[in-house]
Amino acid sequence: MRVTQQMLNQNSIRNMSQNLSRFEKMNNQVSSGKSLHRPSDDPNGVSKAMNLKSTLSANAQFERNTNESKLWMDETGQNIDSMVGVMQRVRELAIQGNNDTYSEIDRKAIDAEIGELTEQMRGLANAKVNGRSLFNGQKTGESPFPEKGNYAFDSTDLVARTFAIGEGINIQASVLPDELFGAATEDTNIFKTLQSISASLQAGTSIDLEKTDAGIDRLLTVGAQNGVRQNRVEAVENRLLDSNLELQSMLSRVEDVDYAEAVIKLKSEESIYQASLAATAKIIQPSLMDFLR
């Protein structure tokens, strides 16, 4: 095989440029820390990475939803506790009011306090979180009982707030006034009960404690349900955090560079490139001309 000048040139240049482009690719991987830059780097891996990123992005949203729903449930629980406290005080006063030894003046004083407590109840029912009503389902812009003394609550088409806290897992995070206080038409509706206590005190008749007890029971039941839902959200949240870690590490396996390996490869590509430069410099220089005198 004759070896000619153009052959030497072409082959050297081609080999050098191939080495340089491999060197550059490796350098790109090390400096970016990612092994996937284009679909052709690893068609399968790229599709996997895209899928993982979508799932991670959905999970980030679920996390925001769980946080929001936890806040909402915490506030709900605390408000229900305060309501139970108010109703306990109402019950004490009702028992006192049923005392025959109490005079007209005393009963008036009790009635005044019941009035205050009713207001307090209304205030609690209108509680807001970040300026949004807690006990008005999805209509968070409005309060359930905006006017004093008007407790005829319209519960038509009121839906509880629900949050998606996982793929296909929806959780109810709010409590509707009908569940909490009883429907406006019901006998045991808390505000009706309070008003009837007040009426009995003014009329001097005996107060029916059973309705008060039924109201308190209802509050406690709803509070307990809320607590159970809180536990469920926490369990789901822990699962979310676990799966996030898992997904992150999978994504990293798919698209991140293994630095140790990449740096060693980079070094070897570098030395190969330098060797090809040195070899080319040696082979291109001399010809017979240098030795003819």
Partner: protein
């Protein structure tokens, strides 16, 4: 009987062959890096001898009369030429295709945090924020902005693909024009070569270089006629392109009608066009499915759909966000249909990736085979400086020796003419 001046003539012939050899060596050295140049050599042979009388009786002696130049030819291998042309043609086809797929990968721009996939994710999350607070105007506005973001990305991708298709059309036209240019030049060279006789080495080299350039663009068959002219035809259907000085030009329409027939870069460009159209169609159906999954209507005035677009006659560039919609209609089943669109998009990306990967590999393989064939050919026809240097020394000595013969004959004649009579 040998003639008196026989030695002078002998020396002169030696000198002139030496000179021609030195010039040819010079020509080779000068063209060491000329593209398509093949080395030349002086073919010389001993000139017809004279009969001289000897005392062998009936047999006469043969006296040499020196040397003649028969021809100066180029060293070339026609079979290797044909191989190089075949490989160039395949490489040209793959290179055109690979360039286009590379462009498409850049347009699709995945994996990234600013591509279509991220835009779809962002819109999905915005819907959930809105579901958490259906009354919130801010959440509504964010859904619309995210939708606009999705439309922007989809439209810029679509536009880039449109541009790519336009460029490919233009490239096909330019390539056809380039091929016709080569055909014309080859025909002109045919004319010059036939006129100058069959020994015009440098013109032939030039013509071979042109034929090689042409073979990158299409698949051709070359026949050398005894007169030295090339007849060039398409290798698929024997359609004549150049016969002697006659050129039958190719035109864009017939290339577009039957690109496979032409092969080379022309076929590669048409396959590129097919790829661009295929991936654009896929992109359109991804965008359409996703927009429909997130509610789309034709006018957007009556129902509170998020997108305005015509489902029957879908066009990405006409997709708009329905800013007037309030309150927005939540998509029916969140997650599922838009999930489908996303997985369809992922499918598109991996399909493109796989195709591009195989194109990259094919280009690398064909480059390597072409390089190997080119090396084999260079080994036959290329100029080796070392060899030329050695030849230079060889011819220099033979020239000097021939000159020496002349001066020696001169001295002999001097003896005979000037000194014998005295």
């Amino acid at each position: 009987m040998v003639s008196t001046f026989h030695g002078l003539e002998l020396g002169k012939r030696g000198l002139s062959v030496g000179q021609a050899s030195l010039s040819t060596t010079g020509q080779n050295i000068a063209n060491v890096n000329t593209k398509g140049y093949s080395r030349q050599q002086v073919n010389s042979s001993a000139s017809p001898s004279l009969d001289v009388w000897t005392n062998q009786g009936a047999n006469t002696g043969q006296l040499g009369t020196g040397v003649n130049i028969d021809s100066i030819t180029r060293v070339r291998d026609r079979f290797l030429d044909q191989q190089v042309r075949d490989h160039s043609e395949t490489l040209g086809q793959w290179q055109a295709k690979q360039t286009t797929l590379d462009r498409l990968e850049t347009i699709v721009n995945e994996p990234s945090t600013s591509g279509l996939n991220s835009a779809m994710d962002a819109l999905k999350n915005a819907w959930q924020d809105l579901a958490n607070e259906p009354d919130s105007l801010a959440a509504q506005a964010i859904v619309k902005e995210r939708a606009q973001g999705f439309v922007d990305v989809a439209q810029s991708m679509n536009k880039s693909m449109e541009n790519l298709k336009g460029e490919l059309t233009l490239q096909t036209q330019e390539t056809v024009a380039e091929a016709n240019g080569y055909l014309k030049q080859i025909a002109e060279l045919n004319k010059s070569i036939v006129r100058d006789g069959n020994q015009s080495n440098d013109l032939k080299d030039k013509r071979d270089a042109l034929v090689e350039d042409l073979s990158k663009l299409m698949s051709i068959k070359v026949d050398e006629k005894p007169s030295g002219s090339y007849s060039i035809s398409l290798s698929s259907n024997k359609q004549a392109l150049v016969t002697g000085e006659e050129v039958s030009k190719i035109d864009v329409d017939s290339v577009n009608a039957n690109p496979k027939r032409y092969g080379g870069k022309l076929a590669g460009l048409s396959e590129s066009m097919e790829s661009a159209i295929y991936y654009q169609d896929k992109l359109i159906s991804v965008v359409k499915n996703f927009a429909q999954a997130n509610t789309m209507s034709k006018t957007g005035s009556t129902d509170q759909a998020l997108f305005i677009g015509d489902a029957d006659n879908f066009n990405i560039s006409e997709l708009k966000v329905n800013y007037a919609a309030s309150p927005l209609k939540q998509p029916a089943a969140t997650g599922k249909p838009s999930e489908d669109a996303q997985s369809y998009f992922r499918e598109l990306v991996s399909e493109l990736g796989a195709e591009s990967q195989s194109a990259i590999n094919s280009v690398a393989n064909h480059e390597a085979t072409l390089q190997a064939t080119e090396n084999r050919r260079q080994s036959v026809t290329g100029v080796s400086l070392d060899e030329e240097m050695a030849n230079l020394i060889k011819y220099q000595h033979s020239y000097n020796a021939a000159a020496r013969l002349v001066s020696m004959t001169d001295q002999m004649l001097d003896t005979i003419i000037n000194r014998m009579a005295n």
